[in-house]
Symmetry: C2
């Protein structure tokens, strides 16, 4: 199973931190890559530093034409999952989603172009109440992998957390200058 | 089961939208109330409007002394669940959490006071990688309720979404001026 994420339509300054959180969730919940448009380029440095510290090879690619990406992915048999509060309830579609191999999960800001609903193989609602694209992405990735993403090791980390009941237990594998 | 959320330590302007998303997640994922400090008071108007439009009676309370809240809740036999990437893996503790009745889930911004780790009955890591307090809160509430929060109706909504495969299907129960 390979997960990629496409985030569209953010408004650069206002959504800066929200966009960073979307990228962090994609990485922490086992996606291999995120595509983003209209984004502050510093986000790439932030995620590169996170990879360096905590491991893995999560990728960010800046794009200008999101429709082209969706069409390319569809042509390569990748299924398109669009997250929207108007879609089918995740509780009902999770069993079908779990059977898919390669997916592109599309998360939008408040308004997304109408066409997305037609491009999508699945329009999925992580509940039909308003919340956040950050939480919606997290829950769909968690449900699709049945939590197994939290047992996966990230390769070649400088620091690694050992889960513990109280306090912090961090193994330092490399010396870091920063 | 009753869920309350305590958010501490945000930096007012920078985290404004993130804080709003935390409150929206608490509401959409079945918590009854959120306590917040150092927050832009407009967030209360935002959530009041959401209640009016989409139903339910989710509450926000602004606080100044978070330790007092935690102590009061502990004295009333409410269990304290602190979300931190350093804690025990959610995959391991979910079965214990599901047995609790009334909980206060504590989510912090980047730095939280060390004491929280000792006050907490559970220090829970929604994975040991950095992501977002928004996604962490969502996943812990989803796991504790096994997704049942998405089958719950919010009472007395002006608008209600009927889940659908393509597009948007919204029932208008009341005329709204705005």
């Amino acid at each position: 199973m390979d997960f990629e994420v496409l985030r569209i339509g953010q408004r650069v300054v206002r959504d800066d931190r929200v966009t960073t959180h979307v990228a962090l969730v994609a990485r922490a919940f086992g996606a291999s890559k995120i595509y983003m448009n209209e984004v502050n380029p510093e986000i790439k440095d932030t995620l590169d530093k996170i990879n360096e510290t905590w491991g893995g090879e999560f990728e960010i690619e800046f794009i200008t034409n999101w429709k082209k990406i969706i069409k390319e992915k569809k042509d390569n048999s990748r299924k398109i999952i669009h997250l929207t509060m108007y879609g089918e309830n995740i509780n009902d579609v999770a069993p079908s989603l779990q059977k898919e191999d390669n997916v592109l999960i599309v998360v939008g800001a408040e308004k997304v172009p109408r066409e997305i609903y037609d491009f999508a193989d699945y329009n999925v609602a992580v509940g039909n109440q308003p919340h956040s694209e950050i939480s919606a992405l997290a829950v769909v990735l968690d449900r699709m992998q049945k939590g197994n993403q939290f047992s996966t090791k990230f390769e070649n980390p400088a620091r690694e957390i050992i889960p513990t009941k109280k306090g912090k237990n961090v193994v330092m594998n490399k010396t870091m200058d920063k």
